[in-house]
Symmetry: C2
Subunit: 208 residues, 2 copies
């Protein structure tokens, strides 16, 4: 099953929305409602969900609970992924405290920083190591995913050192630079400033 | 000129990359190089740039400086946008200190929080108001863009109050929920957990 990235993104968003609806006690939901809440077309919602084997009842819609469980299974992890986070500044600390990061799908096993006040301590219960030791610690702890929250100038160097360990399969990059990694390493980026730039660009065009 | 969102996103990424190349002193760049560094196809790069009036020289490529200036003009703001940030927790503070947020295109004019220790103080030089006063302060300061960094449960309420002011044209949402806003309000979302979920999903499929 080869699934395109935008489809996975929508799947994650359906899942999130269904979690909300389950919590609110809603029993059924139509493709129109889901589409409106997520800014997708209803036809897109129907197409995506039927691709994953769920067909709504005409005039009724989807059973919220069943659909939620179905998508949960698709997104489920076969095991807990082991994650390392490099850069325990404000953004790194914000992520550690972020509710969506308290997931059963992974465990943050190690932190890395250059600040000697942080190295050797536990931060939010996780040991912090020197950034000089990334390769060794990542290899020893068999860390598979690296989250990078260092300044842009340090990001490529950090990625290179983590990849030297030979255990890293994916990188989530928050630094505002493009990283180059070998083709077999999955790379995802959260680019805060790109979204803001896009918003300002569209505002300008609305203004004109 | 109506430009699709993915095109604007790529434009912002070309601009970012060219900034890097200018700083590094590189004089020319080919569509192949740009494509490799950004994980786009070279044909996509050529198509995008020619759409904006830049045609590279066969066998040479684009002049880095000229292309950088050209895209800067397209992305330029006609004036400084006035921004308000709601939720001065760790993520909010991380954004205030984030280098890419030190832009000439906008100014963060007001912060809002529910924490009485923060209300009435200046944080990183910006006054912090009570979240109860969002509508009034946003109207008074003619704030056009709201950045939301509150927990998911509070995000819709915060958006509603800001929109009541009648001056807000765009929202950048960091809360992990879908907001509903009137059709004439631009909505952009940075969803940290969606990117992580996507990465884990693809890792799982690689494993199988």
């Amino acid at each position: 099953m080869k699934i395109a990235e935008p489809t996975v993104e929508r799947l994650v968003q359906y899942h999130r929305l269904l979690e909300q609806l389950v919590a609110e006690g809603q029993k059924v939901v139509s493709s129109q409602e889901m589409g409106e809440m997520l800014s997708f077309k209803a036809s897109q919602v129907r197409k995506d969900l039927s691709y994953f084997g769920e067909i709504g009842k005409r005039g009724v819609g989807y059973h919220v609970d069943r659909l939620h469980k179905h998508i949960s299974r698709i997104l489920a992890s076969p095991r807990k992924w082991s994650i390392g986070l490099v850069g325990v500044g404000k953004l790194g600390e914000a992520l550690l405290g972020y509710k969506a990061f308290q997931s059963e799908k992974f465990r943050i096993e190690a932190l890395f920083d250059v600040d000697t006040d942080k190295i050797g301590k536990d931060i939010q219960g996780i040991p912090c190591y020197s950034s000089d030791a990334i390769s060794e610690v990542v290899r020893e702890k068999k860390i598979e995913v690296i989250i990078i929250t260092v300044p842009g100038t340090a990001a490529q160097h950090v990625a290179d050192k983590a990849l030297q360990a030979g255990t890293v399969k994916g990188i989530l990059n928050f630094a505002p630079v493009s990283l180059s990694v070998p083709g077999d390493v999955l790379l995802a980026a959260v680019d805060i400033s790109v979204e803001l730039e896009k918003l300002l660009f569209f505002l300008k065009h609305k203004d004109e």
